[in-house]
């Protein structure tokens, strides 16, 4: 059996012309913060809707000296993140990491890492649904014209109706924001916790939607204003007294899961822990080191 590597793929999997097209659209997306730029989304060895937009952006920008991190819901180890990281690693040979501070490109679904990102880092977000106007205008052609004319009145009515029906702004994720005072943008399914972390950030954020064939961007130091009313303000998921059961973090986005416990009268209990596992693991390690240190 031959052990000679067979060079089947281009560096970064997609061909050079595809990369060039994605690159051109990324540059236009940066010049038009928050505007959705169409691109010819290519077929990849994963199904559309599983991160192909983010993947194509990463494939178009990645260089041999990059260090890559891929997360899904804040986790480096879940199936989707592992598969995307393996595909990128095998077709580029780049170094991969789980440490946010060591990465130069971070591809993510649903989260912005807890640790602040620097100017030499790029965050690539996978986007499931692009257009915030979809709730009020399902016709894409008409929604595009509305964006062109900055015609966002209907979205404000939608927000108002949300308050009237539910008593508050009932938007869990995909919170609509205005970017640089002009375009309304969907923040992908990042939690509200992360929305304001896009505001005047140091890092560049690139958003890719493979199924809907759109790219958009938030450059560094760009204003992000969530849609809100004077009497019904934008709120994050923060709950007073929240604490991570693993690392004790109080100022991090937590996820909850049910732990079966036969000794518990209810047969189990809910446990909250950091959604960003790399951040949490680091804190657990620091806590353990501090406890071991002689006093």
């Amino acid at each position: 059996m031959s052990t000679t590597p067979e060079q089947l793929y281009n560096f970064g999997f997609i061909d050079e012309d595809s990369k060039r097209e994605v690159r051109r659209q990324i540059l236009k997306a940066i010049a038009l913060p928050g505007h959705q730029v169409p691109f010819a989304s290519r077929d990849l060895p994963i199904a559309r809707g599983w991160g192909t937009g983010g993947l194509q952006i990463t494939m178009a920008i990645i260089a041999a000296d990059d260090t890559l991190k891929v997360i899904d819901q804040g986790v480096d180890e879940c199936v989707n993140a592992v598969n995307l990281r393996r595909l990128l690693q095998r077709t580029t040979g780049v170094t991969t990491t789980v440490d946010t501070t060591a990465a130069s490109i971070i591809q993510t679904r649903h989260r912005i890492p807890e640790e602040p990102m620097r100017r030499d880092q790029i965050l690539v977000l996978q986007v499931p649904m692009v257009d915030p106007l979809r709730w009020v205008e399902p016709n894409l052609e008409r929604a595009t014209i509305m964006h062109g004319e900055s015609d966002y009145g209907r979205m404000w009515v939608y927000m108002y109706e949300s308050v009237v029906k539910a008593g508050d702004l009932r938007i869990a994720t995909q919170y609509p924001v205005i970017v640089a005072g002009r375009y309304m943008m969907d923040t992908t399914p990042i939690p509200r916790w992360d929305v304001m972390r896009l505001h005047n950030a140091e890092a560049l954020f690139l958003f890719g939607a493979g199924r809907e064939k759109r790219i958009y961007a938030v450059p560094p130091y760009t204003t992000i204003e969530p849609l809100q009313f004077e009497d019904f303000r934008f709120k994050t998921e923060f709950v007073a007294g929240q604490i991570c059961a693993r690392c004790g973090a109080q100022d991090a986005f937590l996820t909850s899961h049910f732990v079966v416990d036969s000794d518990h009268p209810d047969g189990g209990h809910w446990r909250s822990s950091c959604s960003d596992t790399s951040f949490c693991d680091k804190r657990v390690l620091v806590n353990a080191t501090n406890q071991e240190a002689p006093k």
Partner: protein, 212 residues
């Protein structure tokens, strides 16, 4: 048997490195990037003006080339005049990129050999309200860019407050010519200035430029 990827060619590496420089400069207007040496391109044709041969800024021309392919339309101008599509330099570009040569209003990318040609920027396509991304991107060769003797103050997305940058040797009306293209945001021309040493700054249409 293991499957692996083909190592990128010299030109592919140049394209990726150049793109990352352009990406950083476009995301942070005023940041000075360094375009890599386009060593794979030797003997770029010259153009003639007043019977004198003029050399292209190899960094600016080839970084523009790195974004061209069969889907793009390209034009170039020198000394305030569009260069004929049949000229040797246009054919040289077309052969290496497979781009289509076009007139100014339909070009997606243009290369301006000198800052005097910035007077032609108003002829370029600024996009439409619905599709502002279909606008033209202009690569302009300038004599010198530095951060030690600032001439312009830049503001806008990508800049923390303001950013001062020195662009030297350009015509007096250059900033006016640029500003005219971006009075109706989101319409506008995105501009990349590259100097003779490959130093590069980007002026996306969101960038407000004032003279120091």
């Amino acid at each position: 048997m293991t499957t692996t990827f083909q190592p990128p060619s010299l030109f592919e590496t140049f394209c990726t490195t150049t793109f990352r420089v352009l990406l950083d400069c476009m995301a942070r207007p005023g940041t000075i990037g360094q375009i890599p040496e386009p060593s794979m391109f030797t003997q770029i044709p010259t153009i003639t003006f007043d019977n004198q041969p003029i050399l292209a800024n190899r960094f600016a021309l080839t970084s523009c080339l790195s974004l061209l392919d069969q889907e793009t339309r390209f034009a170039q101008a020198a000394n305030n005049t569009w260069i004929d599509a049949q000229s040797e330099i246009n054919r040289w570009i077309q052969l290496r990129s497979n781009c289509r040569l076009s007139d100014a209003p339909n070009a997606l990318f243009v290369y301006l050999w000198d800052s005097a040609s910035s007077a032609l920027l108003h002829e370029l396509n600024p996009g439409t309200l619905t599709f502002p991304e279909q606008s033209c991107t202009a690569f302009v060769a300038v004599p010198e860019i530095n951060d030690t003797e600032p001439t312009w103050r830049l503001r806008g997305p990508g800049i923390n407050g303001h950013c001062d940058v020195g662009v030297h040797g350009v015509v007096a009306d250059f900033v006016n010519h640029v500003n005219i293209t971006r009075t109706n945001f989101p319409l506008g021309i995105d501009i990349v200035c590259i100097d003779a040493h490959g130093k590069c700054i980007a002026l996306p249409r969101t960038c407000q430029i004032s003279l120091k």
